[in-house]
Symmetry: C2
């Protein structure tokens, strides 16, 4: 089983090492991890960002499953690029897995970034926009996409000491993928 | 042509009125807008958020196209829920359109939220994560998804006075959808 390794990990200073580690963990469970940075992209010529996009799309199409790192990125929720990829994989009928290394609820995470108050029976942020309060870890689209197109979001019981470099929840997803092969 | 109207508009205090306005604009161009809030979701019983998810999925599957509101939401980039939906629609081969009512570049928007500095030849944020600097309006996945699966992101030349209630860029997307019908 080939697994597309989606996540903002590619933006880390040690992005390549993180990718190698994830691919190794997959291999230990008999699976092939496809890490976006390993895509054969020409970064020297042409429209580099378009080439990166095409490389990711080829990798996603080649994969049987996705493990999306939905750890909050530059705000209270998941990286939109990763969310895009999860949606793409769900629509293609791929097996969808995801994890979030911050176990807090979305509404509590929004509180860290802005004033949240109650008005007219709903929670609103400083701009007056409703804060979803379903007791979920992130936007319901990603959370329930995992419920219906794969396995429930994996979160640690307490926040990882280094949320970008703790692979416990990631490995739990890899195990779920490996179990699926055995059961099919 | 049925168009799924994706966006964080559903979180606005006047979400229902915004939806009616968008549906009206679609109708004026001979198109049918499908607004997530108009989905027949049972909000009184069962797992409400799961019902909302299923309602959105049914609407997306029924639509021929999507217009995604990628205006920055609770951070420098698009709403992850909307990004998920754009990925879903792209993968299903639907015609993908999107707009962003903030015309600034992603890298400049990140600067509004965090310190961005240069290190080892790349731009990094306060957490040390690389800030994509391709001169794009958002994460390359959404921007190039529109380029390759529909039409280029529509942005105003200057920021809309009310970024949540200016429909100029939205209507430009509706026009692009209407033209597509004529040309096919």
């Amino acid at each position: 089983m080939k697994i597309y390794l989606a996540g903002p990990d590619v933006f880390l200073p040690d992005a390549a090492a993180i990718g190698r580690r994830k691919v190794e963990i997959c291999a230990r469970h008999g699976l092939t991890g496809l890490y976006p940075l390993d895509s054969e992209v020409d970064r020297s010529a042409g429209d580099v960002s378009l080439n990166v996009f095409k490389g990711c799309e080829v990798m996603m199409d080649a994969a049987d499953a996705v493990i999306a790192n939905l750890t909050p990125f530059r705000g209270p929720g998941a990286d939109p690029g990763t969310a895009y990829e999860l949606g793409y994989m769900a629509a293609r009928g791929k097996f969808c897995l995801g994890y979030c290394n911050d176990p807090s609820l979305y509404v509590d995470r929004v509180r860290r970034f802005t004033v949240v108050r109650s008005q007219d029976g709903r929670l609103i942020d400083a701009d007056g926009l409703t804060v979803e309060d379903f007791g979920l870890a992130d936007n319901l689209m990603m959370v329930h996409a995992l419920d219906l197109h794969g396995c429930a979001l994996v979160t640690p019981t307490k926040a990882a000491a280094d949320i970008w470099r703790d692979f416990t929840a990631f490995e739990a997803c890899v195990r779920l993928a490996a179990e699926r092969i055995v059961s099919h």
